[in-house]
């Protein structure tokens, strides 16, 4: 077992950054420091990914951490989007400061909690212990509660309260699921630390008590599913996205939902092995399909732009859950690809939406007009991002949705028309709204701090590339991960 300094750096950077920014986070240069720490985390994550691609899965530090191609790709994605969001957040938060919506103290809280949030997500991804996974997911909620209520308006405080209570109760279910998992594992692996280690569980999954495991999975799915935003457990999600600062909406949508889904998929692998039925997959397909449909229909009724894209996230998370539920190499491959492209596209959209809302001083879509006129990059960024998220070719979302739909046609034909209908509704709703926001007359002001829009186009360029051409090493990486998940 070689020393794994990369893991130490990946986790240490954001933790250290969170501590440093807890003291310095309100200073003028703090935003740059936030970018710097996120960049270092990303470099460490990339090095870790290179190593895993080269050497295969790694167990490190007394089996506390486990890295395989499934989680290392999410680590790289999380660290990357965290970095670009930090880039975006610098001018965004300076503008908010300029508009008097924030104080230096709030900014300090924001920077420190931002890094801590990244830390908890990376810990959830890297840990081998299903119990620590739970602890990290709960900590991820805790670090973001005060970020959602950062503006201290009644609506944002209410959103944060809802977020805390609903996710707290939800995640309590996941704790019970974890207890049940430990209960089943302890009979096979014996009491003590190793019985919750995923790698050990994976080895003996065939011997675990099926009734207990199926019950455990129901609780784990409901618990982590609350954080994924699966309908009917999604109520916190639109509020938290709409009322919090935009960089927080971007990392919630682009990263936290993915990490929660990761927890569900990890549990599913164990349950599938123990049950040898389609129970877990069917349950996920049901929840996923419901989320796609409800997300699509609700988003067409929204007036607030961030709420609309929050519902779009519910829809897309539902689609991924459906894909992982369906299982098999192609659907899982598509699910992983969709995780990547959704995360990149949705955060890019939130970047543009955030600046658009700052320019017009409102999040109400009927008052945002003519973005392409005053600031073509924001306008076109939003337009291209929306086209990408709606699954227009040649963007990567098209490729993943196409794969999911064609697999569904073959394996679950009954679900295909429902999926197509929901995607159509989402398309009509988002496209017409975005078109009105991008074109037309405008009264928008210039921003005191020029927005950082490079991340938007970098994200969209990657998504475009993934639609046209998936590099062989990346495809191989996804395939490996898909094999692991099964």
């Amino acid at each position: 077992m070689a020393e794994m300094n990369e893991i130490l750096f990946v986790l240490g950077m954001p933790l250290f950054g969170g501590l440093v920014l807890a003291f310095l986070g309100g200073r003028p240069g703090a935003a740059m420091l936030n970018v710097l720490f996120s960049l270092l985390t990303f470099i460490a994550g990339a090095l870790l990914a290179l190593r895993v691609v080269g050497e295969g899965s790694i167990l490190a530090y007394d089996e506390m951490f486990f890295v395989d191609s499934f989680n290392v790709f999410l680590v790289a994605l999380t660290a990357f989007v965290a970095f670009t969001t930090a880039l975006f957040s610098r001018p965004y938060m300076l503008n908010e400061l300029h508009h008097g919506k924030l104080s230096a103290g709030m900014l300090r809280l924001y920077h420190s909690m931002y890094q801590m949030f990244i830390f908890t997500m990376l810990l959830a991804l890297l840990t081998n212990n299903m119990g620590i996974l739970w602890v990290a997911m709960e900590a991820a909620t805790l670090t973001t509660v005060l970020l959602v209520s950062l503006y201290r308006t009644p609506a944002s405080v209410e959103a944060a309260w809802k977020y805390f209570i609903l996710c707290g109760v939800g995640i309590a279910q996941a704790l019970f699921g974890t207890i049940l998992l430990y209960f089943a594992a302890e009979k096979v692996l014996g009491a003590g630390g190793t019985a919750l280690l995923w790698t050990h569980l994976n080895e003996v999954k065939g011997e675990l008590e099926p009734t207990v495991l199926s019950l455990a999975f129901v609780f784990l799915l409901v618990g982590y599913g609350t954080k994924v935003g699966l309908v009917p457990l999604h109520n916190w999600l639109p509020d938290a996205h709409a009322e919090g600062p935009t960089p927080v909406s971007a990392v919630l949508s682009g990263l936290l939902l993915n990490v929660a889904l990761y927890a569900v998929v990890r549990s599913k692998v164990l349950v599938d092995g123990a049950l040898e039925t389609r129970f877990a997959g069917d349950l996920m397909m049901g929840f996923g399909l419901l989320s796609v449909v409800v997300g699509a229909f609700f988003l067409s009724r929204q007036k607030d732009v961030k709420r609309m894209f929050a519902y779009s996230s519910i829809e897309h998370m539902g689609l991924m859950t459906f894909a992982f539920g369906m299982g098999g190499p192609v659907a899982t491959f598509a699910g992983l690809l969709h995780m990547t492209v959704h995360s990149l596209t949705k955060s890019a959209i939130f970047f543009t939406v955030g600046h658009a809302a700052q320019k017009t001083g409102t999040q109400m879509m009927d008052q945002i007009r003519g973005l392409a006129d005053t600031n073509p990059t924001i306008g076109w960024g939003l337009m291209l991002g929306s086209l990408a998220i709606l699954g227009m070719p040649p963007f990567g979302v098209f490729a993943s949705e196409f794969l999911i739909l064609t697999t569904a046609m073959r394996e679950q034909p009954w679900a295909t028309p429902i999926l197509l209908l929901a995607l159509g509704v989402a398309f009509a709703a988002i496209f017409s709204r975005v078109q009105a926001m991008v074109f037309g007359e405008t009264t928008a002001k210039r921003l005191p701090h020029p927005p950082a829009l490079i991340p938007v186009f970098v994200h969209l360029a990657i998504v475009l590339m993934l639609g046209l051409y998936i590099p062989p090493y990346l495809a191989e990486w996804y395939r490996q991960a898909a094999r692991l998940i099964g």
Binding site: G131, W134, L146, E158, A160, I165, F183, P238
Partner: protein
């Protein structure tokens, strides 16, 4: 029936009693005392289980439980209600008898739910799993029926107590590292909520959650 088992059953019964008492308690201060008692009984239960089964790690677990749930959390809650000036607040609860009846129904459901699992368990404490699930559900009921922020949070903490009790009765507790992690989460959560209560009061001029109905889907 050995004496340790009788003691464990006694502790479980006490926990259930406390859960019902919390459900009907209207004074915030008394609610905090009840929560501290719940923690104390939990810690005592862990000590008895540790003593009768030789699971030494449960002694540490009991120590952490005692420090966190009997000393630190009640102290933070107590400080909070003094600072927020709601120490003598009395909540008007509608329909205590109905809530109690619903609670009894929940207990019956819990015992049915626990039966298949506890039959598989090899622990001497397996009979108490039903009570553990009942505590979780009763705390949930408490969260639903309360309209004020502090009692809702106490309900949330009581739910965590129920889960902790479930872990002790089915498996003699989770691995130590996980238990410490959970304890850390609970502590951080309490500190964050402490800050958050002031934000709630600042935004709504009260800790009454009935003001929170702005965010609705039309």
């Amino acid at each position: 029936m050995p004496i340790s088992l009788q003691l464990i059953n006694l502790m479980a019964a006490l926990l259930l009693l406390i859960a019902f008492a919390m459900l009907s308690q209207r004074r915030i201060l008394s609610l905090i005392y009840l929560f501290a008692w719940q923690g104390a009984v939990l810690a005592a239960n862990s000590v008895i289980v540790a003593w009768s089964t030789g699971q030494t790690h449960l002694y540490y677990s009991a120590l952490v439980t005692f420090a966190l749930k009997v000393v630190v959390l009640p102290w933070i809650l107590h400080r909070l209600i003094i600072r927020l000036n709601i120490k003598w607040d009395v909540e008007t609860l509608i329909n205590i008898p109905t809530t109690m009846l619903a609670g009894i129904a929940l207990v019956i459901i819990s015992f049915n739910l626990a039966l298949p699992i506890s039959q598989l368990a090899g622990t001497i404490t397996r009979g108490t799993l039903g009570i553990a699930i009942a505590i979780v559900l009763l705390s949930f009921l408490m969260m639903i029926t309360r309209r004020k922020a502090v009692p809702q949070v106490i309900g949330f903490l009581a739910m965590e107590n129920g889960l902790f009790f479930a872990a002790t009765s089915t498996t003699y507790g989770m691995p130590m590292v996980v238990e410490l992690g959970i304890a850390l989460d609970v502590l951080i959560g309490m500190v964050i909520l402490g800050i958050f209560f002031f934000q709630v009061r600042e935004a709504f001029d009260s800790l009454d959650l009935k003001h929170m109905e702005k965010l609705r889907e039309e």
